[in-house]
Symmetry: C2
Subunit: 344 residues, 2 copies
């Protein structure tokens, strides 16, 4: 893959900024020889970290600001007072063409609001959607919307399907991702009117999409399809409910392995398998929510991500920047917007 | 607890009926010396199983029918053709007063439809709701609705809160269960209008409920509250998404422990802890969905439950039958229906 990409980094966002962020960027740059980074933040803090690292010294530069978006700021406050902050400047650099994509581990609501304002919506997109990469038995599945919108009508669900398909192609490297609508229950009670209508639209659309119909909640982790489409309320609840179950089981597993000498010895013997399992349950391995449908790429990293996690978010941002996913979305939106769908 | 309870059992419902069902009932009866059971199903199959078991011989009797609801029958077909079936007769016995509660591991949609028709809705209940007992870090949490209704307006959510609270008191034995509404996101974007309106209604209600406001998806497994209230679409997706994650992690754990001799030995040493973890992830330990808001108790057991799982569903049915949960629901619905809520 081509690697001449420049990322614009909010070096001050997240629980462990700027230390972890700088480490993550260094990790990312080491893996992509041609890549560069702009680091937005407080020069006094960033300079020593940059100087201490050869890769950063060679391929990253600092863009100073001492304004910061705090984690308790509301989106509306961030819009009013956030101009010139490290987060704002990181996104702005993408809009101005100085960078190809931005990454921030800061305040989610603020990042969404600033990204929307600065990067604007793509032509033809009424509602951008937040994606999640959900770990499954077969790999990863793109789930969207996981919280950018509270509700979605049938046409918005169709546009989410289009955006999710292009996103899956760019990030998972699947040429023709399979797509399904999230639904519940039996044949006779097939969910909301919006979902049933979106199903008809997708089934009869002129898109070359591998549309598979409905899936249920447990099909996500089973990896039944590559893209699961839903409204932002349902998607957010599903994602967090799943995270909650994973966290509970991780806690129980720790207890199971620390309760006695025998179990500790057992855990030591089983270490390899356990490490893989732990890595599987680690959010930093699936890090990177993206608000798709904007005029540029703005990736959100978990606020508590470690350096590896932040590096993954950078890789995702670079993959998206180097792909044609926005071009594909525009083409497919035009295809369904050209009256073919409305005629159904 | 008083144990003079009679359960009405659909002996022919579920993947492993009638064998597993009979074993489960025997298990239940052994734990409740005063309890009795009516076994609805094919006498030719049930008689030898009954005769072979001392507890069943002493405290269960067969009510013959050779009609059966199949697992592929739609609810509407079950209503048209299901009269006289083992499932129908099991529910009917409750309605007629011959038994205190019914249990079936058969076709979910059919059981819901038949229970609604035969037991009817309680006075004041517009929409019965399906409950789930969700395992958490602190014990179990009641989640409802998990699929009886696709949507719910604010007043229905309030009635779900009332029914869930009474259900939690009866099944979890908590005197004053804490209750919350499932929602997403930040302060500024607090979900659907329905959820926000229900929040206002509950906050200002004359109920003596321990209402805690909003929780998010990951708060369920954390055990943040005893009762989580949501619409049937969201609840069903959340429950199944959580089950999917648990199943995926169980698969990965098996892989982790069978990949090498060392890890197998490790697993053997850690066996006690692992067994507890396995039991925690086992659906039969949280078995028993209940359609609350009906004129009688009808419990659904997982179709694939083992004997212990079916016994748990029976215990749940007995607890509900011996509690005053329907009386409490009626009183609280009257309290909010008396104009206090509408006046807000």
């Amino acid at each position: 893959m081509q690697s001449t990409v420049t990322l614009s980094i909010d070096a001050m966002g997240g629980d462990n900024a700027p230390g972890i962020v700088m480490e993550g960027v260094a990790d990312f740059l080491s893996g992509r020889p041609g890549a560069r980074a702009l680091l937005h933040g407080d020069e006094a803090l960033l300079k020593p970290l940059l100087a201490a690292n050869a890769v950063l010294s060679a391929r990253a530069e600092i863009r100073h600001t001492d304004i910061k978006i705090t984690s308790d700021m509301k989106p509306s406050q961030a819009l009013r007072r956030g101009k010139g902050s490290s987060m704002w400047n990181a996104v702005q650099a993408v809009q101005e063409g100085a960078a190809d994509a931005s990454v921030s581990a800061g305040n989610t609501g603020a990042l969404m609001a600033i990204s929307m304002l600065v990067l604007r919506k793509m032509d033809g997109v009424h509602r951008p959607a937040m994606t999640a990469l959900w770990p499954t038995l077969k790999g990863r599945t793109v789930v969207l919307d996981v919280g950018a919108n509270v509700e979605a009508d049938a046409e918005q669900l169709v546009s989410f399907a289009i955006m999710g398909e292009a996103f899956a192609r760019a990030t998972l490297g699947i040429e023709r991702p399979s797509v399904a609508l999230l639904n519940i229950g039996s044949e006779e009670m097939k969910g909301h009117e919006e979902v049933r209508e979106a199903h008809e639209l997708l089934r009869n659309s002129p898109l070359k999409m591998d549309y598979r119909g409905f899936v249920e909640g447990d099909d996500i982790s089973a990896g039944a399809v590559d893209v699961v489409v839903t409204d932002g309320f349902t998607g957010n609840v599903a994602l967090k409910a799943g995270e909650g179950v994973a966290r509970m089981l991780a806690t129980r597993m720790r207890e199971a392995f620390t309760e006695s000498l025998a179990s500790k010895a057992g855990a030591a013997l089983a270490m390899n398998g356990l490490k893989r399992l732990k890595s599987m349950m680690d959010p930093s391995n699936v890090n990177g929510g993206v608000l798709v449908g904007l005029g540029g790429v703005s990736v959100k990293s978990h606020g508590s991500a470690d350096a590896r996690g932040f590096a993954r978010a950078c890789e995702l941002a670079a993959d998206l920047a180097l792909s044609n996913f926005r071009g594909e979305i525009a083409a497919n939106l035009a295809r369904v917007g050209a009256g073919d769908l409305a005629a159904e």
